[in-house]
């Protein structure tokens, strides 16, 4: 038995096919979900992929957050459904208030594409079980609006509760407060991050590293209890 992992396609999603490929390479079954459908097709987990949904017009994620599919995602995430938001997906999760804080334009005002070093701070979420806390990994980063901000109270709370899942190491590529690259909700089922694990799953492609595959094997293990 394997797990069925949904990947939502919004208009302007770009990495939906890549995410499906990563899920397949990890041994799970990808299920395409459509933004206009409320139906999550009984999936065991959902990924909101990267891209520029609705062109990132207004604010990244601001328009997608109101799509029919997000109504169901919000409801089920609150009930424990594992949800991963990658880049644009992370932005959608903050706009939907499933994760605290907000994403703003990079402090240097440019799009940035690079092989980014990250530290795994929390290996206890639904999506990071195959990593070890403190481990350094390299995952491609590519975004225009990657600056994570929240007020000090929220940041302190996130840190105190161990909800900072990833931190940028050596170089903060966008001005994110406290070098935050990814966070989780209180229950640990919803995770959002700016870098793109689905682009680090094959040795020949992209940066040639496979550090991202563990996201997808982590969730698979969690779901099938292997």
């Amino acid at each position: 038995m394997t797990a069925r992992i949904g990947v939502v396609t919004f208009p302007g999603s770009l990495d939906d096919r890549d995410t499906q490929r990563a899920i397949r390479l990890a041994g799970a079954e990808p299920v395409a979900l459509w933004h206009k459908d409320k139906d999550l097709k009984q999936v065991d987990a959902v990924v909101l992929p990267g891209g520029f949904s609705y062109g990132d017009y207004l604010r990244a994620g601001a328009i997608s957050r109101f799509s029919p599919v997000m109504g169901s995602v919000i409801e089920q995430a609150k009930a424990g459904l594992p949800v991963l938001g990658i880049c644009n997906g992370f932005q959608i999760l903050t706009e939907a208030h499933l994760l605290p804080g907000a994403m703003l334009g990079n402090d240097h005002l440019h799009f940035i594409c690079r092989d980014q070093k990250l530290r795994v701070e929390n290996a206890g979420t639904a999506w990071t079980g195959d990593y070890t806390a403190g481990q350094d990994i390299h995952i491609p980063l590519k975004n225009m609006d990657g600056r994570y901000v929240a007020d000090d109270y929220t940041l302190d709370k996130l840190e105190a509760e161990g909800r900072v899942v990833f931190r940028y190491v050596d170089f903060n590529p966008n001005g994110s407060l406290r070098d935050i690259a990814g966070i989780t909700n209180e229950a640990g089922n919803v995770v959002g991050l700016m870098p793109h694990p689905e682009h680090a799953v094959e040795p020949l492609i992209g940066t040639g590293r496979t550090d991202g595959l563990l996201f997808f094997t982590s969730i698979l293990k969690k779901l099938v209890g292997a």
Binding site: A62, T94, A102, L104, G105, N106, L109, V149, A150, G175
Partner: protein, 87 residues
Amino acid sequence: MARVVVDVMLKPEILDPQGQAVQRALPRLGFEGISDVRQGKRFELEVDGPVDEAALARIRDLAESFLANTVIEDFTVKVEEVAEAAK
């Protein structure tokens, strides 16, 4: 038909690199005497029908839930005079 303007600006405590970039460029352009620049968004909404208090209240809701992200942004809503001072 009337125009309602919603201005959305980053909260003062949030870093505004765009405004800063403009400010940094000013000396190069021979500009002195501007101590701070902030850059935000301006939405012009053309409203059918009268802009009464009820309509304005709805637009404030819209601004609060959609046009601005109040985690990081403040907004103001104004009805615009028709004859605007051009340039």
